[in-house]
Amino acid sequence: MRSSANSKRYLYIGSALLAIVAVFFIIGLIWTPYGINSTDSASKFIAPCAEHLFGTDNLGRDVFSRCLAAARYTLLVSFAGVAVALVIGTITGLLAGYYGGIIDKVIMVLSNSIMCFPGILLALVAVAIFGPSLYNVIWALGLVFAPTFARVYRSSTIELLGRDYILSAKVMKVNPVRIMFVHILPNLMPQILPAVIIGLANMTLFESGMSYLGLGVQPPAASYGKMLADAQSYMVTAPWLIFFPTLMLVCYILGLYFVSEWVRTSVNGGSK
């Protein structure tokens, strides 16, 4: 009883936080009060006021407009990156778990090698080689995150292989690809859903980190990481430059964590 009430609370708080980001995302798609890169040397470092809700930065750009626009890229990178990781992770994880043997060993050695590098370093190397662009960031992050999904899929597949319904499908001589994707995959949702949500949160952190280092989303596009990088010299004199992008990131990531907590407790029947 108590646990279900608690998990509902997670859902409400998480959804409220995500709703804020969603509103920013939708408004950012259709309208921003000022151009996101339009500079105005007359209005540098204006503190939050009625005209500039989140203030302005060192070039006189409106922080509110930039926060609206950055939501678009943050969501795009996190969702597209998770989609790439999910597709690669699903295929490799199912193959490794289903066939075992040499296929499993090769896939696991590869994914372990990726996982033993610090993820951000690997993504940075990939972007440094292929050039910093939005799509390269998505690919690089997708590759870095794929082993996490592959592992979840692999272990859950191995667990399901002994179930009678999978044995029965094998006896019926169902095609292995069909067994993997139609018989096994739908049963992995309880494990994969929380992993996807946590993946979205981690992906956002990685993207912000890369943008902060200048290798993520490239100007003229706005990104929270880039905004934080630009603002660090003015942290004391213009704290709002740090505060609002950080607030947006916290809303998004915390919201995802809360929702994932709810998913975990409700999908897995409350098991910890």
Partner: protein, 522 residues
Amino acid sequence: MRYKGNILEVNDLCLSLSNADGAPVKILNNLKFNVRSGEILGLIGDSGSGKTMTALAVSGLLSDFAHVDSGEIIFEGEDLVKKTPKERRLLLGEKIGVIFQDPSSALDPLQTVESNLSEIISIRDGDKSKGHERILNMLKTVGFDDPKQIAKRYPHRLSGGQRQRVLIAGAALMNPSLLIADEPTSSLDTVTSMSIMQLLHEMCQEMGISILFISHNLNTVRNFCDRVMVMKEGTIIDADTSWDIMGQPKSAFTAELLMKSKLDPHALGITRGEARENAASVLTAKSICAGYKYAGFTNDKMNHVVNNVDFDILEGECVGLIGSSGCGKTTLVKSILGLIKPSSGIIEMNGRIAAVFQDPVSSLNPAHTVRWHLAEALRASGRKMTREEQKPYFLKILEDVGLEGKHLNRFPHQMSGGQRQKAAIAMCLVQEPAVIIADEPFSALDASSQASVIKLLSDINANRGTTMLIVSHNLLVIKAMCSKVLVMDKGRIVESGNTDEVLENPKAEATHALLKAGKYAV
């Protein structure tokens, strides 16, 4: 000193569970019974009748979703319902011991048997230093010949029966006044379950422990319990000494349960599947060897579980395969089904083969409806039908297996164990196989479902002429259904032939052992 009189009295206990919407569903309805000091009380009933809920309510292990609405549970003169959760936890183990159905999940896999048991001693005495001798003695008491070896082993190196013995040893170390055994033998084979029952009986007599023994099998409780209660829909409908309840059941339900558990072929209308005249063979195995590889230090080693097995099954025949657990039955079945590759030998098949497995919980894919399962079987058989043609065909198949049209769009979790097993059989029928191999298809079902699934398979054999290979450790099932029987022991077929001849005039030692165990605890 043991408590004198009724050690446990349950008076007018009502218990409900909250369903997904939070609405209460009544599970136990004015339940009333008592356990006398030093007796074994059997509690039987179909699955879903509230047996396990009774055990959980008495032991204080109810989940958050269950609550006692009214009534009292008086244990050694004190009402447990009024006690706080902390007080009840203190009673658990010390005064009330519990053994569950699944021995594989009840021991810590990372600790040896001795550490598992010394944990119990340290909880009771706060000191595990003097435990070693006591553990070895207790392991000897529960029937291990070499307790020192067993104490050093990890749970995965024990068989199901050995694990259950270790759990019983654990419960006995606490020396409780009341031991609740919730279907402790239903996952074990006949020989092992008989020895577990004997062990519990001895413990009851020597240590004076009262036992509440829960089972869905009337035959199991018959020989070992002093009194038996029959439960239906959360109420006790019949209670008497086990002799009387078997001889003169008071309620119609008990009589029916008794009839079903005896598996009388005439009463159930079962005929033995005989081969037709001049029947061709549909399944032939020639010197099959099969087993499992395990990784050695330098190269993989092969552990042969099945050695040189030969048999021949004729069209329309119903053949039984029996043997104690671990003798290689399942490995043989898996190699016939193509699930593992035999290391040598030839399997010749004339037609499609379909399988029904043991566990009704995992026999159907939880992510899909019954309709999807039937469509998948149809697809696998290579026949093509439009969606419009499929529906009447599936409804007909469901009717044949004793399910209704409404089950077509149900998910597995919306059906009972027996219904799921019938849906799995429906999948077999859709494939129109020449042979159906059923690996212990009844052992996880309660007496009523068991009887109806046996009748169903027998009817399929009689009406459709489908050949059957039934793997079971229940000799009554084999006697009722099969015209031929294969007895397996240590990976070999040690005896085969006409069922009556083999079972009435056994030659192999393994057959003798199975028959002896079957007499007590089928």
